[in-house]
């Protein structure tokens, strides 16, 4: 049984790209204190909108741009519900996922069976969008930890009452973070349809949004952690596919389960140690998942 490490690595970073984008977007939203469980719905919306645009124009990059826009637009539904009408974030997020899946299934019918335009490769035979995803990791890290805007965003997520008392606009900050999360999830979804599968199928994101949500927790809300989590998931995915192809005497079902099992396992181990991490600045943002209502 031969598994070439370099080709596995190249496949790994490609396989982890959709989750990397979605998880980075959700990371920013959660650091602003918003728990958006609609990642899956935003991803599938981006997957369809991006595929449709790429197919119609023949330009895959235009497809990704449209996917980002579509993800951001549909995320505004969630933003309106939670930031304007103060609806429960968990329920609104679940609704967004169901809504996105249904919407994409309906509008996706005409695109079934057609093929996406070819995706040009960038430096080192690595796709440009994969590069973009890798560049986003240090960019988002620097934004969160080094920029003034990132500090305000973290402040809003950590203690929205205090941020409001200091004069920061909690709802506006959160709405912007939700939109960014939507755009990133949209690009992540489009990567599956435009660059991986090269066609549209109903429900093609197959739970990637949920894995992205788990990876944000896994990362302890840091950008490098998100990269590690996405690579872990992508790596186990690629590895199990290779093992399947090599015909290892392990039931296929067990191998297919492996990436999810690995994610859950690491999540449990990390959660068990979570209680110590707040003192070191890690752990979940203080206001995560709670709505803010200001009395004026």
């Amino acid at each position: 049984m031969m598994i070439d490490p370099l080709s596995v690595f190249l496949l790994l970073i490609s396989a982890s790209t959709p989750i990397l984008f979605a998880a980075l977007g959700e990371l920013v939203a959660e650091r602003a204190g918003v728990l958006n469980l609609g990642v899956e719905g935003m991803m599938i919306t981006g997957a369809l909108a991006g595929f449709a645009a790429a197919y119609a124009t023949g330009n895959p990059f235009l497809g990704f741009l449209v996917a980002a826009l579509a993800g951001a637009v549909i995320s505004m539904l969630f933003a309106g519900l939670t930031q304007l009408f103060l609806a429960n974030q968990v329920a609104s997020g679940l609704a967004l996922t169901l809504f996105g899946l249904g919407l994409a299934a309906m509008f996706g019918k005409p695109f079934e069976g057609v093929k996406a335009p070819p995706m040009p490769t960038g430096p080192l035979r690595i796709n440009w969008i994969v590069w973009l995803g890798l560049i986003m990791v240090p960019l988002i890290w620097a934004f969160l930890n080094r920029s003034r805007a990132g500090l305000i965003l973290r402040g809003v997520g950590e203690n929205h009452e205090a941020a409001h008392a200091l004069g920061y606009n909690v709802r506006l900050t959160r709405t912007a973070a939700i939109a960014f999360g939507g755009a990133m999830a949209g690009v992540g979804g489009a990567y599956i349809s435009i660059a991986t599968v090269l066609q549209w199928t109903e429900g093609m994101t197959a739970g990637a949004g949920w894995i992205a949500l788990a990876i944000v927790v896994f990362s302890k809300w840091t950008a490098p952690g998100v990269l590690a989590g996405a690579w872990l998931f992508g790596g186990v995915t690629v590895l199990q596919l290779r093992l399947q192809a090599a015909g290892v005497a392990v039931p296929v079902q067990l191998l297919s389960m492996a990436p999810y099992l690995a994610t859950i396992l690491v999540l449990v181990i990390i959660s068990a140690r979570q209680k110590y991490s707040r003192r070191a600045g890690g752990g979940s943002p203080g206001s995560l998942g709670t709505n803010f209502h200001a009395l004026r």
Binding site: R154, G155, L166, G282, R296
Partner: protein, 506 residues
């Protein structure tokens, strides 16, 4: 001290639905003075300073700061104009570092390294050393307040507002705070100081403006008045004189013997062989510095923690193996120190909160179903009986100010007519008028033949209320001494750990 008014307010008014929070408020603060804003809970102090800080916009009136009109649209505008504020509840971000917290409170913070250097320098200059890299969660209450103060100082404010800053500080930390304020005032900063600790204001403030029901009722030099006069101005009328008469120690109600408990967690205190006897009509005061086992003792008496057989006996019935509900039914009621979260559920209405402890004794639950009418009536009775200022019993507990909620929590227990009531810090954060009412209700309860245990860190309160006094020190309870003739010096020795009747060696 100069005579230039740094800040001036004229005819400020603000209404909320159903409440006139401020009405025609005019006052001024001069450069270099520490100006006290005095008033009961709900007198409109917080609303007033929120308007100065741009969090709330006034309905009428005008404000001037350093000669120009002051009408900030938001706190950032107010900060730009030179107003800085230290909040009553800390406005800090736990998971962020000191430097990050301070940067968030500044309009245009310098680069990180420079900011850290300035924090270190300014904090040392004022004798409040701070490490800019520490995270807030790792700091004590006093250190957290330093962060807020340094955040204000770095902006070179013209007007510094402090909203009840000492309520969470130890006396030593409070002294340090006043030394800092003096230095600041000497540099020309005007300081607006909100508190209802009258002694503190008399010792440290140059002038006082007194608010009652949203209006300015008086302005005076607090050093020229007694605490009693100031309190009278706050509540409008004479302070109620505590009436201790008409009580007689009767039969033994509560007998605690050999009560020992391991510490509940790493921060807790173990109870060591605690013994006490409480008679009908008697008030037993338990003093001690915070963290010496007060909460643990209350938990052992309330039934949250069970103890060895025979250690807690109420009127001949051994309750040590019983939980809180059977103890309540038997007549042993408690009111813990932490109002929100321990004594009351923040998001429950006052009606629902009465059910939590008064369900059995007041018959508010029938065959497992809540009798909502009866519960509401009882909540209303508590609200009226204890002058709880709230629109009604449907209001969630978290919407009440600290003092009002405290009155409600104490009232809920007192009006159940307990045999024994144990309270921890009954007047913590409560203004003078309300505190007097709470204390009187405890005395009245004892007069009717109940036994009361008051656990408190306020020694004056214990001397005023109790017949006998014990000191709680590292989980050990000293034998009781009669309060009559007890001096503060003697109490100090008892709290310091010189147990019992022995004289402490110098």
């Amino acid at each position: 001290m100069t005579d230039i008014a740094v800040f001036r307010a004229e005819g400020i008014g603000k209404s909320y639905p159903g409440v006139r929070a401020n009405d025609d408020v005019s006052f001024s603060v001069r450069a270099g003075e520490i100006h006290a804003l005095l008033g009961e809970n709900g007198a409109g102090k917080s609303t007033l300073v929120k308007m100065i800080y741009g969090l709330v916009r006034p309905d009428d009136g005008q404000m001037w700061l350093a000669g120009s009109l002051h009408a900030p649209a938001d706190p950032r505008a107010a900060r730009a104009a030179g107003v800085a504020m230290v909040f009553q509840h800390f406005s800090l971000f736990d998971a962020l570092t000191v430097a990050e917290n301070i940067a968030l409170g500044m309009e245009s913070p310098p680069p990180r390294r420079e900011l850290s250097a300035r924090i270190t320098k300014v904090s040392h200059d004022f004798g409040l050393p701070l490490n800019p890299a520490r995270r807030i969660v790792t700091l004590s209450a006093g250190e957290r307040q330093r962060v807020e103060i340094i955040r204000c100082l770095l902006q070179d404010p013209r007007l510094l507002i402090m909203d009840e800053p000492t309520s969470v500080l130890t006396p030593q930390e409070a002294e340090l705070l006043f030394a800092t304020l003096r230095k600041l005032a000497a540099g020309g900063t005007a300081i607006l100081y909100i508190s209802h600790k009258l002694d503190e204001i008399r010792a440290h403030c140059d002038r006082a403006t007194i608010l009652r029901h949203g209006k300015v009722v008086d302005s005076c030099d607090p050093r020229a008045h007694s605490a009693r006069d100031l309190a009278a101005m706050m509540v409008g009328g004479q302070m109620r004189v505590i009436d201790r008469s008409g009580r007689q120690a009767g039969e033994v109600l509560l007998q605690v013997t050999a009560l020992s408990q391991p510490a509940p967690n790493a921060e807790g205190t173990a109870l060591k062989d605690v013994a006490l006897t409480l008679r009908a009509g008697e008030i037993l005061g338990i003093g001690g510095v915070a963290g010496n086992g007060q909460e643990e003792l209350l938990a052992a008496l309330s039934g949250e923690v069970r103890s060895a057989p025979g250690s807690v006996v109420l009127e001949g019935t051994d309750l040590s193996a019983q939980g809180p509900e059977p103890r309540r039914v038997a007549g042993l009621l408690t009111a813990p120190e932490d109002r929100l979260g321990h004594a009351a559920v923040p998001d429950f209405s006052l009606t629902e909160n009465t059910l939590l402890t008064a369900g059995a004794r007041k018959g508010l639950v029938r065959r497992g179903m809540i009798d909502h009418g009866a519960a509401r009536d009882y909540a209303l009775a508590v609200i009226q009986g204890f002058d709880v200022r709230t629109p009604g019993p449907h209001v969630p507990a978290r919407a009440l100010s600290g003092g009002n909620l405290q009155k409600f929590v104490i009232g809920r227990e007192v009006m159940q007519d307990p045999r024994v009531l144990v309270v921890n810090q009954p007047t913590w954060g409560v203004d003078a008028g309300a505190a007097a009412a709470v204390r009187q209700s405890l005395l009245d309860l004892a007069r009717q033949g109940a036994g009361v245990i008051v656990i408190s860190q306020d020694l004056d309160e214990l001397l005023e209320l109790s017949d006998r006094f014990c000191a709680l020190n590292e989980g050990r309870l000293s034998p009781p001494v009669p309060t009559e003739g007890l001096t503060l010096d003697r109490i100090g020795l008892m709290l310091g750990g010189a147990h019992g009747m022995e004289e402490a060696r110098p």
